[in-house]
């Protein structure tokens, strides 16, 4: 049962790591883009949020599944 906690940790950790790199790149490019062409900033922002939402989905789903594993599948181990 203890392995479930390790699984949940890997799930949340690696998911968050990947998404953090992704959103970091995305945000950096957004700033670069809107510094170069400020008049495009609102348009870029919409695309940025769309991209961030797409990237965001996988880690948040991972967190959901991990929470389910920790508190429902292996409830005794957590406490």
């Amino acid at each position: 049962m203890g392995l479930i906690l390790v699984a949940a940790a890997i799930m949340m950790g690696l998911g968050g790591l990947g998404a953090a790199i992704g959103v970091g790149l995305l945000g950096g490019k957004l700033i670069e883009g809107s510094a170069r062409q400020p008049e495009l900033a609102p348009k870029l922002q919409v695309t940025f949020f769309l991209g961030a939402g797409l990237v965001d989905a996988i880690p948040i789903i991972g967190v959901g599944i991990a929470m389910y594993l920790i508190f429902v599948v292996a409830p005794g181990v957590a406490v």
Binding site: F49, L50, A52, G53, L54, D56, A57, I60, I61, V63, G64, I65, M67, Y68, F71, V72, P75, V79
Partner: protein, 292 residues
Amino acid sequence: MAGENQTVSEYIVHHLTNMTYGELPGGFERHDGSIISEGGAWVLARSGEEVAAMGFNAIHVDSMLWSVGLGILFCWFFRRMALKASTDVPTGWLNAVEVIVSFVDNTVRDTFHGHNKMIAPLALTIFVWVFLMNLMDLLPVDLIPYTLSLMGVEYHKIVASTDPNITMGMALGVFILMLYYSIKVKGFGFAKELSMTPFNHWLFIPVNLFMEVVGLLAKPFSLGLRLFGNMYAGEMIFILIAALFSAGLVWAIPAGLLQMAWAIFHILIITLQAFIFMVLTIVYLSMAHEDH
């Protein structure tokens, strides 16, 4: 919390169980000891074992009620506002509706380049409907289920978009529209697109077909699962924070603050997911309309 002597995991499982109406097989022993007569019977599930025993012959009553109810609310409200609209300066709710309509209209104009009068109303419906279903997530997790459990309803989930049946159903609807317009606009070109790209040679037809069909099927699948996963994870975290209240009075204030902080962050997520569902629908339908 519904029932004082629950463990945390029982509490969570209780909150994640839909109000299910389904057919129990004959001879099944119910929670109160009564036995289903020969031939089976259609009943409301009262426990997790009963839900499991129902199998495929079951419907989630709460998801259907909330999703259809919110859909009707959206149609009624937007129709009322459309009738009220005039050339005068808009006020109150009319203002909000006009902002939403023009926002969706602009997005469709930017993304969709074919000729189809159905896309903008479809996008508006999807956006507002998904948003309303997600918005139920912001109600306190115990408010409606606990009130209903006092009235004798054992299980009730108010967030319809945390039910994969609802989100996958919507994604399936979008998928059928994609197929319909692909065949209508491209005709035989659709079959050609599936079998001749990316490798334009008759020898590669099986490879192309496999790759394109997988790509095609992945679209509605990821569309439905993305919405479901986001809302499910969000709901899960709300429930976990709510479970903190059982840890005693010391935890009441931090838990309340956490609940509020997550709710504020969740406002972004529910709007963003509704927006993404809408934009991806438009993009997929736009791809269906592109005739090469």
